[in-house]
Symmetry: C2
Subunit: 199 residues, 2 copies
DNA sequence: GGCATACAGTTAGGCAGCTAACGATAATTG
DNA sequence: CAATTATCGTTAGCTGCCTAACTGTATGCC
């Protein structure tokens, strides 16, 4: 459970009362926001518990899955480009895929290599780069681990009907899109931003 | 952004194809699960960005809010008990409220005290305990910070209608409840568990 | 009353994020 | 071709999370 948060969310009446003191507080928005953080944390915790039992962390698992894509490319991953590379290979590509810095990826690869899950190899062409590859041990681990992981996920989401899942995905996508717009408003105004810099 | 995760979620067709290899993979469940983690992370990131600009971390903010409840108790917090204490006071209570270990809380209070936001005082009755209290500086900080924080939340959730918010909270609550049941199934079977141990 | 147990807070050590800076190498550009 | 610029991986040092073990204090049980 990585993100610490209030164990018990404030009740709606409490939010209503706080709104009297803080006019900027939108009770229904705050309620939805807090429930989102809590549910995300809960879901994360369920999967992390699964991973812990197998002695692997969320971060390491993420790296393994990115490399797994390379070993087992799906046709859907390569819609048009025929000879395109299937997945990330270098620490920099892995860092981009996992949304962490290169420095963090160095540490993750360090421990994964120490535990025998990946191997570093120097790139023969560009001598700045390294190639990271899964070992057979990692391949075997994933084949044993993933089914249970998928069952856990299915059990967690199993409380929702198919229609509810679609609705949930739709609403969450709206929020993610809005979050992206709030963090970097340049996404929509990519044509204007450079001008602003030029001026 | 605390929980690292795939930057780009796999597409639905890709999940469908993977399901051929892994029968335990429920594509719609996996899709909903991944979107939940991503949206939770996105929402978390938006608020964390807000906090960072004010030089305070999510964990510290959580502690301040727990202590704030004590300074400004709401009537809704005290439904029946008249003279009951309003909020957490000791490091152990704060740790329970923030869902972290006591050791972690020690570190958080250390830095908060160093920065002048809280003060430790020994408990006059039970000499094992400490009392943690907000300083006027923290009170002023929160009064200045919270309105912006609430506006950010309202803007993020603003993409949803009131009806959508209600739906979202309902679905997320279902998932959180299921997660709790999966992590500690003893909640419902507290009478059976001890027997199992006795045998 | 004396001793085992339980509990509060801290400390020590590990992992996983981050930023900033570095050396080595490649690419660009005058 | 030479020099600047950019990129790759790594290192060092920070924060914040964890577990395990420790000290001091209260409590419970003969």
């Amino acid at each position: 459970m990585p993100l610490l948060l209030l164990k018990d969310l404030p009740r709606y009446e409490c939010l209503l009362e706080s709104a009297k003191e803080f006019p900027d507080l939108d009770p229904s928005a705050a309620e939805a926001y807090l429930h989102l953080l809590r549910a995300g944390d809960d879901a994360f915790g369920v999967s992390e518990r699964n991973l812990d039992e197998h002695g692997i962390s969320q971060g390491r698992f993420c790296v393994l899955m990115l490399l797994w894509r390379r070993v087992h490319p799906r046709a859907a991953d390569l819609p048009g480009a025929a000879g395109a590379e299937a997945g990330p290979r270098t620490p920099a590509e892995l860092a981009a895929g996992a949304n962490v810095t290169r420095a963090t990826m160095t540490g993750l690869i360090d421990t994964l290599e120490r535990d025998g899950f990946v191997k570093r190899e120097p790139d023969p062409v560009d001598r700045r780069m390294m190639s990271v590859r899964l070992t057979p041990k990692a391949d075997q681990f994933l084949r044993e681990f993933l089914p249970g992981h998928f069952r856990t996920t299915a059990k967690l989401i199993g409380v929702l009907t198919e229609a509810e899942r679609k609705t949930l995905v739709r609403l969450l996508t709206k929020i993610s899109t809005q979050a992206a717009a709030m963090v970097s408003p340049s996404t929509a105004s990519a044509l204007i931003e450079p001008v602003a810099h030029a001026v």
